[in-house]
Amino acid sequence: MRNVTMVRALNEAIAEEMARDESVFVIGEDVADCGGVFGVTAGMAKRFGRERVRQTPISEAAFTGLAVGAAMAGLRPICEIMYVDFATTCMDQILNQAAKLRYMSGGQVTVPLVMRTQQGGGTCEAAQHSQCLEAIFAHVPGLKVAIPATPYDAKGLLKSAIRDDNPVIFLEHKLLYEEKGDIPREEFLVPLGEAEVKREGGDVTVVAWSLMVGKALDAAQALEDEVSVEVIDPRTLVPLDFEAIATSVRKTGRLVIAQEACLAGGFAGEILRRVCDECFDALSAPPRVVGSASVPMPFSPALEAAVLAGEEEIIAAISAVAA
């Protein structure tokens, strides 16, 4: 085992896949000169050349479209969008094109594209640099959505995403980049569509992803003496390993879903829908959803902290469903 940051884990995943498969290339803003503003592709241009690490003008729609088209022609682009907020400028290429081309072509076209980006609040960057938009991507049929919480998952999922023949939206979190975790020395993959029980427990199920996994684990730890909390990280929202969630809910009968995204229309609502459809009878208390307030993210640290959901809200929700 080695203890590495998530940035390092992601960097290794990309480098390994580029070394393994010549059709893999990186495209995005500042990706060659500084490895992207978060340094995920640092050193790649030197190792693989600027032909395979393509630094672009600030034209998300054009270079994302290029990546989609290149995938249609059999390459395996890793397209980096600096902030998920900027993906709004290339939504046509993602939602209308990448997601639908295979289906509309009757299965004749494949789009083995990875769109990497990062999201989340907590850095006082205000409303256009702090969103969590996973629900938008998960809403559109034809896109897979991966959203890792640990360096291990980040590396394993990214390698699987690059090898997948479908478009995968890969959502990193800006506050997790420098977080460390153990990863094996030897090669490994994490399959898309497999949840992980991050902590076992018998009283309450907490489903959380991305930054909220750590917060849920902290909450579980804080409540250790009162409630036994099970924390499940789906790791990919599409495909969703609902069976893992249902199994836990059938065991505990109590459910909290924690997302950082604002509450209205969030992915937690989709998990609740599935719970209502498939294991409502197992519930012994009304489930709770934790999420941020549905306002544009404010700049002021005092206001941002008030808007963002965190450990405190998760503790309150666990206590409420366990009562």
């Binding site: 034209s59 054009a62 088209g69 094109q97 295979r102 083995p112 479908n166």
Partner: protein, 322 residues
Amino acid sequence: MDLAPERLREMLRLMATIRRFELRAQELFREGLAVGEFLGALHSYEGEEAIAVGVCAHLRDDDYVFSSHRGHGHAIAKGADVRAMMAELLGKSTGISRGRGGSMHMFAPEIGLMGGNGIVGGGTPLALGPAFAAQYRGTDQVTVCFFGEGAASQGVFHESLNLASLWRLPVIYVCENNLWAATTPICDAWPVPDLAPRAESFGMPGMTVDGNDLLAVHEAAGEAVGRARAGDGPTLIEAKTYRHRPHCMVIPEHRPEDERAQWEALDPIPRFEAWLLEQGAISDVELADLHTEVEAELDAAADFARQSPLPDPAHFAQYMWA
């Protein structure tokens, strides 16, 4: 013109096939309406045939075409099977996109047909992709993107030209300027009369051609394709043309009568036929035979479409994931 007579006749046959396809498609659409079935949008390519045929004449099966919502002509000129296309219009399981795409989404990647697009301008950035892939792999494949002048008002079109020129990608942008975008005349969309000058501002060649003159289109496209194949980068071609029909089957005619008459006199098919006859590249008898054969082919295609089975409703989710 150094084209062999059989190549010239082949181009005429393709133009006639497109024309006849559209007429047949409209019949099928009306038949459907008569029994309460609505077959979605249908955008006729009649009047613009010389552009698709003149450009695609330079393409190989491993070259790529990205088409638009008005894409039947591009598909036929690229070599798509008219029977499968006709079946697609009826949503049949034998359709060229298995009934999942319809009129605006005809795909045949094995011959480089990368689909039409329901989003005006949607193909313009996608076309950069296979062009990039050709450069990346060191092949001499080229990519053509067809779009209407309406799409030239999209931001992404300009981003795409910029990137194409910056990276010298082997892509040819072909604007089919038929002077109208749905019901909006070009004077309400462009403050200038021509598109080609915009190419210069991106440092790439721009050309203007008479889109109703097959030979003119063929010549311009030959130059652009040659440049792209040689690794000398992209070209923007603006082909001035006119559609014979209203925007689509369900939108009434908005264009002035005299303008329509003026353009119909410039119909690319009779124009090319007259030239072929004059050159002795075709005889009256051969010409009549050609039209009879094309008609029979499209009759057969329409029958094939009618007789083909609908997809099994249980299979609606098929083809979503690879």
